[in-house]
């Protein structure tokens, strides 16, 4: 018979307020197997842990039950306490009498009765526990960063700085991401490219960083410390090693119908192009949709002018397999398409633009070379209306937009309004807003400057309709403060569109088995305490992929993710979870059901000679790779013959718990 100790925690009044902890400790004394039972105010405190260690020594306990908070909180604490006192750490069971009992009950009698039942179930399970020993697995000391925007670049720089190799996989032909498209940054109004491009160059020059542009991650196998990724490097039709980035082809290419993605498709570009002057790598790319040579076989002009001989129309996609210890998701965002919100007339009127389009219109490298001209007739706009919260903060049932606040729009709209008033003082600027949200260092001061110093007209209310009348856009909205409906004849309307995760995020999340919320933002392991880690071990989150944020927040999170990556890669070995599945070869009928449900690819089938009482034959049986198994238990519930079992959570243990509760 085992000797079990039970330790009931008060958790101050968290548990003791609704559960009679003394009664629980007393009741547990009569349970078979229990030789010691007590209660204490804070079992997780140093004094509480000492109480447990002393009891283990004094009563020669070979298993303990701690009735306390959720195992997510302190299971590790108590396992370490037990281990230090000479017990196997897996001979510790937690009865969750806080989250699953005291916090959800009001009646003390009921709460106490339930706490006793939960503690009895834990004892029943513990009676079937076997000591388990954690194994170790090696760590591949290389990091994969998916996405080469400011988030990915910062994470890569920090990880490389610690001496580890980093691969940045970027889907576009250049790194730089959304920040490269911005003209100025708030609240200091410094030029975005001027602060971003040095970082891009730094990443390119860092010998530990390998930039794989125009590529995407196609497949990821493995587990923390041992990922294997398949990366498809799309055919550029330009040899990266030869191209000098000379741009001689620009005027030669007869195809001029490609939409310039970097300038938000407001102008055309040739079929062969470099997205922008400071692109990294500074290597041209041929758009296969637009290239006359690739479509018809006739042309080849760019090849003729290329003095470096870099053009290769026969280039094929390249698949590469690389191993990584950690993966960082930095997939970023895109603005939503405001066309479905038809009251703003975005689809019908060229002069209704999004804020990101305005960034390009104001940028010296943009389609108007930095002069603010409206798209329809290239005239200078004299009256501009900004509309905030376009597609943000919508009720989920309306299907009109996103339920969240996009966070950055208030500040960039104030920035735009201020820059326009500064550069073109003859321009009237109105901003329709619901709330102006400026939590951030020097943010509210910035917004107030737009109002007080630059005379931007902020109108509390939303716009109901934008309609063209002649060469004006009639903007009708409400001014709630003066209780009036207002109509403004504007030359240009700028929509502060909501931002949403990049469309690639969903498939990457599925590939990595990293959880996402309903809006396709990646979920963090703990909203407060583990904000840069995915719940999936070895996956880290950087930038807007996790939720809307501005540049400084993105950089902060990117460095935080890097710190976590460095912490992982600095280890030579990882301790693996011993609670993994195992198959009983005598019971396995080789049906392959478990292999199909395993989300980690941990199960394979082998032909093996099986020996047992009255059995000696070669059978096809399941085998679990304990290094890959994450102990989710999907196989154990799928197995029709009961051959699969999960260590630490065996069918027998679970049935014992159920019996203790129900019988």
């Amino acid at each position: 018979m085992q000797k079990i100790g039970v330790f009931v925690c008060w958790c101050g009044s968290n548990i003791a307020g609704t559960v009679d902890v003394e009664a629980v400790a007393e009741a547990m004394k009569t349970v078979p197997g229990v030789v010691f039972s007590t209660h204490y105010q804070y079992m997780c405190s140093a004094a509480g842990q000492k109480l447990i260690a002393d009891a283990i020594h004094e009563h020669h306990l070979d298993g303990i039950v701690v009735a306390s908070c959720s195992p997510r909180m302190h299971e590790n604490t108590f396992r370490k306490t037990a281990e230090a006192a000479g017990l196997n750490p897996y001979m510790v069971e937690i009865a969750n009498i806080r989250e699953q009992c005291s916090w959800i009950h009001k009646d003390k009698e009921e709460g106490t009765a339930k706490a006793i039942v939960l503690a009895k179930a834990a004892v029943a399970k513990l009676l079937h526990n076997k000591p388990l020993t954690a194994g170790t697995s090696a760590v591949t000391k290389r990091c994969l960063v998916i996405g080469g925007g400011i988030a990915g670049i910062q994470t890569a720089l920090d990880v490389a700085d610690a001496g580890y190799e980093v691969d940045i996989v970027e889907q576009r032909p250049t790194i730089g991401g959304r920040m490269a498209q911005l003209d100025k940054t708030f609240p200091t109004l410094d030029c975005s490219a001027c602060i971003l491009t040095p970082k891009m160059v730094e990443a390119a020059q860092n010998e530990k960083i390998n930039i794989i542009s125009y590529a995407k991650v196609e497949k990821v196998d493995g587990f923390v410390g041992n990922f294997r990724a398949t990366i498809r490097k799309k055919a550029r039709c330009v040899d990266e090693t030869k191209c000098t980035g000379c741009s001689l082809y620009m005027n030669k290419c007869p195809s001029k119908k490609g939409k310039d993605e970097f300038n938000m498709e407001m102008n055309n570009r040739p079929a062969i192009y470099i997205p922008f002057a400071q692109a990294i790598p500074n290597v041209a790319v041929i758009d296969p949709e637009q290239c006359v040579k690739l479509k018809t076989g006739k042309c080849g002009l760019c090849q003729k002018v290329c003095t470096a001989g870099a053009i290769d129309y026969t280039q094929q996609d390249e698949l590469m397999e690389r191993e990584y210890g950690a993966i960082v998701v930095a997939t970023g965002f895109k603005p939503i398409d405001p066309s479905p919100l038809n009251e703003y007339g975005y689809a019908e009127n060229a002069d209704v633009i999004t804020s990101l389009e305005l960034e390009r219109l104001m940028n010296a490298a943009g389609p108007t070379k930095g002069t603010l001209l409206r798209p329809s007739d290239l005239k200078h706009p004299h009256e501009i209306v900004f509309i905030q919260c376009v597609g943000s903060r919508c009720d989920e049932n309306t299907k009109r937009g996103k339920p969240y606040c996009s966070k950055i729009c208030c500040m960039y709209t104030a920035k735009h309004a201020m820059l326009i008033r500064d550069k073109y003082p003859d321009t009237k600027v109105h901003v329709f807003y619901i709330d102006v949200r400026t939590p951030g260092k020097n943010f509210d001061e910035f917004y107030r400057r737009a109002v007080e110093q630059y005379g931007v007209d902020y109108i509390k209310g939303m716009v109901g309709k934008v309609a063209r009348e002649g060469d004006k856009l009639m903007v009708r909205g409400s001014d709630l403060i003066s209780n009036q409906q207002v109509e403004i004849a504007a030359d240009l309307v700028v929509l502060a569109t909501a931002i949403e995760p990049d469309p690639s995020a969903r498939s990457i999340g599925t590939m990595l088995t990293a959880s996402m919320d309903t809006n396709d933002f990646f979920t963090e392991a703990h909203a407060k305490l583990r904000p840069v880690e995915s719940p999936t071990a070895g996956i880290f989150l950087s930038g807007v992929a996790q939720g809307p944020k501005d540049v400084p927040e993105t950089v902060a999170q990117a460095s935080a993710a890097a710190a976590k990556v460095i912490g992982l890669l600095a280890k030579d070995h990882l301790v693996t979870n011993p609670c993994v599945a195992g198959s009983d070869e005598l019971l396995c009928n080789g049906c392959s059901q478990c292999e199909k449900v395993c989300p980690y690819g941990a199960i394979t089938y082998v032909d093996k000679e099986v020996r047992g009482p009255g059995v000696r034959e070669v059978r096809r049986v399941a085998q679990v790779n304990p290094a890959v198994c994450q102990g989710c238990g999907a196989c154990t519930v799928t197995c029709p013959s009961g051959a699969m079992d999960l260590k630490g959570f065996t069918n027998q243990q679970i049935m014992a718990e159920v019996d203790a509760i129900c019988l």
Binding site: E343, C389, R393, C394, D395, N397, T398, R400, G401, F432, I434, K460, G461, M462, V463, G464, K465, R476, G477, S478, D479, L480, N483, Q485
Partner: protein, 130 residues
């Protein structure tokens, strides 16, 4: 018929199926209303006044007859509040109290000056014809 604030508010909420607490006070409904200037109380005020229980004020205002029933506010509300349904519900509540000043088809015609859109007359005939 009972006329307590509680009764009136609950009735309006029940008839309309609207939850005014969902409103984020953006004013888009009033920004989009084609008959805004004619109405004493504007669509966004219907929402906040119903929430505050000021139903009688709304019932005694001509605003309930001036709503065109175009449903632009319902269509465009980002929070799914549907102010137009509240206007309709208050009008219906008024209508149910037969002994009070219910407008008949002829009274509506008296509204017919040039500032009143045709659509209003059509909506009114639909709503209040015997």
């Amino acid at each position: 018929m009972e006329n307590s604030v509680k009764f009136l508010t609950e009735t309006v909420l029940r008839i309309s199926g609207v939850d005014p607490r969902k409103c984020m006070k953006c004013g888009k409904c009033s920004g989009t209303c084609p008959n805004y200037d004619a109405m004493e109380y504007h669509p966004h005020q219907f929402v906040s006044m119903v929430e505050k229980g000021q139903i009688e004020k709304l019932m005694n205002s001509d605003s309930i007859y001036l709503c065109l029933g175009c449903m632009a506010c319902v269509e465009r509300c980002p929070r799914n509040v549907a102010p137009g349904k509240l206007v309709g519900a208050v009008a219906q509540l008024k209508l149910r109290q037969q002994d009070m000043n219910r407008k008949g088809g002829n009274d509506v015609a008296a509204f017919a000056d040039e500032i009143v859109p045709q659509q209003l007359l059509m909506a009114a005939m639909r709503k209040y014809r015997k």
